[in-house]
Symmetry: C3
Subunit: 466 residues, 3 copies
């Protein structure tokens, strides 16, 4: 609950409520009273841990959402390889966060510091093992007390944090689709999930310097979504636009999604998963206050997404010349990203406003990127980076964050992630290369790099050069 | 738990069990006894609220199910626009239920009355805000006691009710696919979710006149599914059949689904979501009785769906001339809708019977609609309206409802929703129009209305006129 | 929690913790202490039951995963019929397990015996009905005490066990796709889910002879996955390879998946569902130890799947000649199946190792089956049978199982399921036939057996004979 002082370092056992509970049972048991019996420590422990796990499972599901969104958005000739990239990045993210990521982000981060320890592996505590396996009742009881005192189980927290790093990685794959080499992409994801994201996390949720300044980002508009967006932007610039996307005459070649129902499914998956993303970020389900906050979070998340959709529908007609389905779908994501920094606000109309602006930003952002000749296949940069910045600043309006601190956080994380990503992509470019060969790009990565077409039996139209 | 006296107005703190629990802890703590310690108030509060949220998230997922079912069922030329309709209706439903719907349905409905208040917005209570934000320990404790006494958090209930209105709206889009104008559809959905459905809800779950009569509809066979079905039927009649669907010679043009795996995915999503739909409608998870009821509900829901599938498979061969995949899939939905009015029955063979009959009704209903020359693209009317009526009446067999009262409820809600929907569609027809232009219908809404094809790279067969 | 002594017969009320809790509240209420208040009986009951239901719902979702995986893997001409098979098998599994399966598996299995009772139906207990419906407060309280003492509600356990038998059945459909008759397949599934799987279950989780020997299989690497795999293998052999799959010259015809994004979606669904599969198999959420175990289970499940993916990617290049997307996706499944026998190990690096080996086994197993000229359309036998055997034996390394006992379990269940399945398939072959007519096979089951094409509007390539 003490969310601001570190996403993991919180303590969920609330002495006040506990005393109240004890009093209610001990002295006042037979006297009707206005006060109420609180959850006891172990019940809190169970519910906190379960909350991490069940909402975390929904966040994992978001990786399927990104995969569907992306494989339906790319052209048929690159739909298989984007599936492999997404399955691979989720596997890599989980392994890297176990190997080193979690430790860098959360273990031993100095108060106001920059990063945690550089040790290998993270895991179940000795007390937890004793609780699970000891035959000595006294040892078991003592271990149990220590375990319960922590407020949640070690690996439930790890699981929830792990799916967040995977979300960050998912954002990158879409923007850079259809021209980045498979192995270079995996290499970048390895560094992103093992080091870059954990460092950003250490500054903030891990209790580092931005946390000490009072930077607020409840579920990660900046920490997750802008981080993924900056990494994607750097990659999109280094690897360059798809061949033929921006023509010599200044016009832009339309590259419509190849499979709209699959894209739509992806967006619904993301919308569902976001309940876990924002809801689980309450980090506790140990009492009435947590339950109330969780309820507000889910309501706000849904309202912001709905407002994002409607704003994008409304704006796409005048700005893009038609009711644009893809802008509308990205509007949902823009709304969701925007509310992610402060989904727990109690004035729900703010969620409508914040989400609506987020949806509008996506429509304008899509136009802006085309002007800048930056090729972002799925609109990840407008939806995750631009809306993420907006959401982080909007905390000052709705959630009480200090605007200057919010700006510092946005700028610092942006600078770090963009520069680090640029450097990694550039090193990869100069060594193994990041861009597929022109012939591979023309034939499609599925045939030329992977040997497996996405829709081998279907007759597809040859691509026209204009 | 006092489900019949209003879906929202229930009180979950059970004095008897509470006294038992207090006694167990206070006096009998050291004496082994047959009685048991009950959940305390705050634990009940947390679990009740969480139950609304997690099951509600699964109900939201049903909107993705409807979207897949529908976009796979329509012809490829209309698959994009149905995706946009479904994303849009979910956005609209959430916003409207926040703006006015919830208040009409639940706030200040007179005992036995017709509808609630016509105020704007619904939201977190002052006590909840105090609990979340106050620095005054005494104020916080007093607010907490008041919050906990309510049994669940305000917005957890809102969230759960909101996804139900979205389900109602989803039913309409499928039946009217491939010829209704996008903006007219959104206009209808706005009125349906802001006013029509909330009024039906006020009569029943809100504690209005049908509730006072003893009308029983646990999770909404009539309140949700028939309401959606009647609205869809009125719309399908006003907008008319698709061009060429019913030929001059009395024969019917087959319009098979364009993407069967996507349809199947939609049905699986609905089946999964229905566990939330029926399970969450227990409205509480605050004690052993709730947990037992919830378990029975999920078991019955699954049995009814399975029986619906098998009945439809068995019947489709003699009646439709083949093992009809779509009838089988709709059989699952028919079984699910049928059990929705009384999913908590303890005799589980009744679930098999009720669901099996529901599956059979769908097969016969599909034939009936074709005879009546009513064009329902996905079979929404047989699956949701016909099976919904059956399920509501079946409460008299299995769940102890008064048959006459059930009939009155079915008839009253049917008459209101059908007439109101007819009127709205007719007004729209006379003003902005409800039917797309013939050329749009021929080319498909995706190209002609939206400008985005669902499968732009795939070569599809030109439609034959017969 | 006493998992080894029977999956259902466990008792979740832990006297030690309970005494601790009582002590904490009774005597020590006002004295800060190292011990902690435990969950009371009813809270345990609610959380145990809910855990069965919510994780069980995720396991049901795995059936959608298998359906997508399979319908995307078969050729377009057989994609509809595989959808019908999967919807049908899930319906049948649920009904059969209600009619007879559960009773054979869990009710009255003699200590160390072979199977339970042969009675019809399973259901809510009389005490549960009394708790739900009685107006007599004393009778209700007494019934409630009896209900709570059971530790979980009757049908919550049934629901969770039911989705497991459905998983077993799902494994069969994929391996035998594209040539097995619809009705023969349904007949086999009926016997498999009503009798064969329940007998295997009685030997193990039901408390029968393998359980008495100390056989360990936490969530069913052998009991579920190998059982499905053996049944699939027997079926694949009896029904024979698809026409033209294995050529006279010894070469193998490639039959790539027809819809890769749909296959990928299926794998993500399975991965998500597996958190429920393994997590719910803790069978309780009644205290800190359960919560810790559950957290370890989800973390290990994810690590093993990720390692399986990466191992398969790494191995597919040297062994299969390319980075094989399908091998990689099956690698995830191989990793998941492998960890299923001991997902609760506290040393998480073992999960990485076990899952990685599982992924490697899938790649090698795919090659082996081709050598043996066994036609397994989706690779179900390598992923579920081979990896399942490995996972069951790996319990000896990581989870403390006796290797000899594990081998006996693998062999006994393998022999029984393979022989029984072979016999059933052979009886079906000699009576109604199991193989579709050659012309049906050539045209595809969708057109020739079902009359509904999966993608009727899409132009697909005619199949070449080589």
């Amino acid at each position: 609950m003490l969310h601001d002082s570190g996403r993991r370092g919180f303590r969920v056992l609330r002495p006040a409520a506990l005393a109240l509970g004890i009093a209610a049972f001990g002295f006042l048991a037979l006297i009707p009273t206005a006060s109420y019996a609180a959850l006891n420590d172990e019940t809190q422990f169970v519910l906190n841990s379960f909350s991490f796990l069940i909402w975390g499972a929904l966040v994992m599901w978001m990786c399927a959402g990104f995969t569907m969104l992306e494989s339906g958005s790319v052209r048929t000739k690159n739909a298989s390889v984007i599936c492999l990239k997404n399955v691979g990045l989720y596997a890599i993210a989980g392994l890297m966060f176990y190997f080193v990521g979690y430790n860098i982000m959360y273990v031993g981060v100095p108060e106001g510091g920059w990063f945690g320890t550089l040790t290998l592996f993270y895991g179940t505590t000795a007390d937890e093992v004793t609780l699970l396996t000891s035959d000595d009742a006294a040892a078991k009881a003592a271990a149990g007390a220590a375990v319960v005192k922590n407020g949640y189980s070690t690996m439930s927290d790890w699981f929830f944090q792990m799916v967040f790093v995977a979300t960050t990685a998912s954002i990158v794959s879409g923007a850079m689709a259809e021209r980045v080499k498979l192995w270079s992409f995996f290499a970048f994801i390895t560094v992103l999930t093992a080091i870059v994201y954990p460092i950003v996390g250490a500054w903030t949720w891990g209790g580092g310097w931005l946390s000490a300044m009072g930077f607020k980002d409840f579920a990660g508009s900046t920490i997750v979504h802008s981080t993924g967006g900056w990494a994607a932007l750097a990659g999109a610039i280094v690897v360059g636009a798809r061949k033929g996307k921006f023509r010599a005459d200044g016009s832009v070649k339309a590259t419509p999604p190849s499979n709209v129902p699959v894209v739509t499914l992806g967006v619904f998956i993301l919308w569902l998963g976001w309940f876990g993303f924002n809801g689980g970020s309450q980090l506790a389900l140990g009492g009435a206050a947590d339950a109330v906050a969780l309820s507000n979070i889910l309501a706000n998340t849904n309202l912001a997404a709905g407002a994002g959709v409607m704003a994008a529908i409304a704006l796409s007609r005048p700005l893009l010349g038609r009711v644009d389905l893809l802008a509308s779908l990205n509007g949902a994501i823009g709304g969701l990203v925007s509310i992610t920094a402060a989904p727990d606000i109690a004035e729900h109309y703010w969620a409508v406003v914040i989400g609506g602006v987020g949806g509008a930003i996506v429509v304008v952002g899509l136009m802006l990127l085309e002007r800048l000749k930056i090729d972002d296949v799925v609109g990840a940069v407008p939806a995750h980076l631009f809306a993420g910045i907006w959401g982080t600043l909007a905390v000052s309006i709705a959630g009480g964050g200090d605007l200057l601190v919010q700006l510092i956080g946005v700028a610092a994380i942006g600078a770090f992630v963009f520069v680090a990503s640029w450097a990694i992509w550039t090193v990869l470019k100069l060594t193994v290369g990041v861009r597929i060969a022109p012939v591979t790009e023309e034939l499609g990565q599925d045939v030329a790099e992977l040997g497996i077409e996405a829709y081998p039996e279907f007759v597809v139209l040859p691509e026209s050069d204009d």
